[in-house]
Subunit: 220 residues, 2 copies
């Protein structure tokens, strides 16, 4: 829940143009799709995929990692990653559990079987799109538990695409289809308000000092 | 024109599986679309775009460069670039002239004006898709002479995509639409045969020695 008084207080530190931008962008954000990265150790790819999430309006992403969390966090905090929620999971099993709980079907992106072509993908269901490593693709765990598969048709000698390129193509395709559909894909008003609250805090320089002053004046 | 006798001679050095692969891939190749790279100095991007051309069946690409040709050639020769024709032009003007001569309309990819969205792009006409530099986009020359514009809808904070990602999204989208259309997009039988001839030569180890021996036995 958003603290309404604090929300109003913080708004004063954000320009009206910026505040409007948050509203406009949030009107195009969705949680109908989410992205899961199994191979988060390739930082360059992770950053690029998160950038695509922002560009195509996907608000939440998931990363599976067993160790090195601190190393990642530092880099992930830069750039577009500020605007997309990235949740960490210690293993694939846990991640799939959390996503199923939230009503997502598990979709493995893979060029290696009779997958559904990206342009034919049925966007009606909430879907978590899993991307594996460039070398080995998604893990066995994901392949076994997948509710569906999706692939990009490839007709040349090259048999694989860079993860960041695959993710961008798939996200662009499915989000564009989603926006042209009658599916209820938008965030709820409550989710939008919460996100504005978070984004405002991320946008304000010296937010720590400002929050400290607020709580000094308004003890909890 | 292909030297039929030499063609048959070379075929013996290529496995039947490989020969069939050439035929299969050539059945999906097109010259209906071509790609033009204005900023070839970012080698990483150029390679990635050429890789996408191969993956999505675009046989010809163009690069505009004023200098440094030798530096480029060496790197370009590696990988997927082997299977895509890359033609160099010394400036944008010349390149546009050559393409118009061949019946291509000039399409600038740009996020900066009221471009046509990639999913709405009319694929019926032969189109040369121009990609500029990541920083400044396509040049003024291209913007002025363009017959049309194309853009990827973006709804987040990030206002640009990496060139290799943009090119992949656009190529995937337009080639997929093309393949599902009734447009005559395939290479002619003559073009396919010529390309097989070229690919065979690129696939054969010690091709120079083999050609030398052939011409020794069959003087021109």
């Amino acid at each position: 829940m958003v603290d309404k008084a604090l929300f109003s207080y913080l708004e004063e530190f954000v320009t009206p143009v910026r505040r409007q931008k948050f509203i406009d962008i949030l009107n195009k954000r969705t949680k109908h799709f989410t992205v899961v990265l199994e191979d988060v150790y390739q930082m360059h790819n992770t950053s690029a995929v998160i950038r695509s999430c922002d560009v195509f309006g996907v608000q939440q992403a998931h990363a599976i990692e067993v160790q090195h969390k601190n190393t990642l966090d530092k880099e992930i905090a830069m750039g577009a990653q500020k605007w997309v929620d990235l949740q960490y999971h210690s293993n694939t099993e846990t991640c799939i559990g959390v996503l199923k709980e939230k009503g997502y079907q598990i979709i493995a992106t893979t060029p290696h079987n009779d997958s559904c072509l990206v342009e034919d993908f049925d966007v009606t269901k909430k879907s978590a799109l899993f991307f594996g490593s460039e070398k080995n693709g998604v893990s066995e765990d994901v392949m076994k538990q997948a509710d569906g598969f999706i692939k990009i048709p490839m007709v040349g000698f090259t048999e694989s695409l860079n993860i960041s390129v695959s993710a961008a193509i798939i996200l662009q395709s499915v989000t564009s289809k989603l926006r042209n559909s009658t599916i209820d894909w938008q965030l709820t008003e409550e989710e939008k308000e919460f996100q504005r609250f978070i984004w405002m805090q991320k946008s304000i320089k010296s937010i720590d000092k400002i929050l400290a002053r607020y709580y000094e004046q308004n003890p909890k």
